[in-house]
């Protein structure tokens, strides 16, 4: 009898959480209470991490330093060109009377560890609500998108990787401009769903974010198409692999819009006259 009461309570909680997301408030409240305990438990892991950093050899550091200098030089050159281009872009946009592209705030973060939940692909990073991270922000490494912030704690946040089955990214195929949605497929891969079997997709195509959802910034590289199987059903089965080091990234950048995405509106008819 008591068993059934408990089982029913648990099942209700599962449905409320997984399906309706009703229990986020409860989770946030309790996690604040549990926070010191979690911090205490994280100390040994922290220690191991710092120790491995400490014992990194001089040679390795020197090599890395050389590498970084070279990279900084290359970046400086591109940065110079970019400021030039940005100025030119601003001027041209001004001429066209278009709004400036949304500016971006970014927070650099270290990946602390993978989340313990084995059923999802999530990592914990060391920046949280105290560093103005909010849920929904995009997380990138130097090669592309790795995921999205899904839960924010005071000084940590949980990032769901793009390869998680519950994660979807609105994308555009760079070559054709075709819009689609990339879902996590498990095993470190993504899949492009709901594209017709005759859609123009080839292995090797790059996918970038389309920015249509107002959360992801447009134009961030996401994945590369690996294989296309058109013989299954009405929809093609398209498997992609992420461009960013989704599983390995140690340093990431959390991107957010400095201002909210503009309201989507139909241009007023008199605009076309002038």
């Amino acid at each position: 009898m008591r068993l059934w009461v408990f089982v029913i309570v648990c099942l209700t909680m599962l449905v409320a959480d997984l399906h309706f997301r009703y229990l986020e408030v409860v989770r946030q409240t309790l996690s604040v209470v549990l926070y010191p305990v979690e911090m205490a438990a994280a100390t040994p892991a922290e220690f191991v991490r710092n120790a491995s950093k400490y014992f990194a050899t001089l040679i390795k550091v020197q090599r890395e330093n050389r590498e970084l200098r070279r990279k900084a030089l290359a970046d400086a050159e591109r940065l110079l060109r970019q400021t030039e281009l940005e100025r030119e872009n601003g001027r041209l946009r001004g001429l066209l009377a278009m709004a400036e592209r949304v500016s971006v705030t970014s927070v650099a973060a270290d990946v602390l560890y993978e989340a313990r939940d084995v059923f999802s692909r999530k990592v914990i990073v060391d920046r949280g609500s105290q560093h103005d991270v909010t849920a929904g922000q995009v997380v990138v490494d130097e090669q592309g998108v790795i995921g999205q912030v899904t839960r924010v704690y005071p000084i940590q946040s949980e990032v769901t990787l793009v390869t998680d089955k519950a994660q979807a990214v609105p994308v555009r195929i760079e070559r054709t401009g075709q819009r689609a949605v990339a879902y996590g497929a498990g095993e470190g891969l993504l899949e492009l769903r709901y594209l017709l079997a005759n859609a123009d997709v080839q292995p090797g195509d790059r996918l970038v974010t389309s920015g249509l959802d107002g959360l992801f910034l447009p134009g961030l590289p996401v994945a590369r198409v690996v294989s296309v199987n058109r013989e299954l059903q009405a929809f093609a089965q398209i498997v992609c692999e992420p461009l960013a080091g989704v599983g390995q990234a140690a340093q990431v950048l959390i991107l957010g819009r400095a201002q909210p995405a503009p309201e989507r509106q139909v241009p007023p008819p008199q605009a076309s006259k002038d």
Partner: protein
């Protein structure tokens, strides 16, 4: 001769605060971020099973539920996932306790293995029904390490109960 438990030592009664303290320590251990390394034992499940077998009148489904919810929050897992598994584990452990206690600790551990595996299976089924991916067979390794830890845990956790009231070298206990 009257039949007795195979462990022939006469134990002092358990202290309830010690039971809950050990469960809290297990909770702390389970919060240690080990990532997704396979074979890390589920400490809370193990301790819960232990006390549900040893002290079936004190520890049961209520403790399973509360510690399950705490683990769910710490892991960032679905709320109720561990709670459900631990409630069922506690129920099963309570049910088999009177039989299991007749065996030596080593034989007990063999009988606990299916319970721990069952609890993990419940979690796999629940999450896969909700659309998660299969975590791989390595996931079940943590039950095996848990089983191997049963014997040392049996010794450590019963240590306070081995202590006599006052030390007397002429007394057999």
């Amino acid at each position: 001769m009257q039949p007795t438990h195979r462990s022939r030592r006469i134990l002092r009664p358990v202290r309830i605060w010690f039971v809950y303290l050990s469960l809290c320590v297990a909770l702390l251990l389970s919060y240690v971020p080990t990532g997704q390394v396979p074979g890390v034992p589920d400490w809370v499940a193990l301790l819960l099973a232990f006390w549900c077998v040893r002290e079936r009148q004190h520890v049961g489904m209520g403790a399973g539920f509360i510690f399950g919810v705490l683990v769910d929050i710490g892991y960032g897992a679905a709320m109720g996932q561990h709670a459900l598994a631990y409630v069922l584990l506690a129920y099963a452990a309570n049910a088999v306790s009177r039989r299991v206690l007749w065996f030596t600790p080593l034989q007990q551990s063999i009988q606990i293995l299916p319970l721990l595996l069952g609890a993990q299976l419940v979690m796999v089924v629940v999450r896969m029904l909700a659309g998660a991916e299969f975590p791989g067979w390595g996931y079940f390794l943590s039950s095996v390490t848990g089983t191997l830890l049963w014997l040392p845990l049996h010794f450590v956790l019963l240590l306070p109960q081995y202590q006599p009231e006052e030390r007397d070298n002429n007394r057999p206990i």
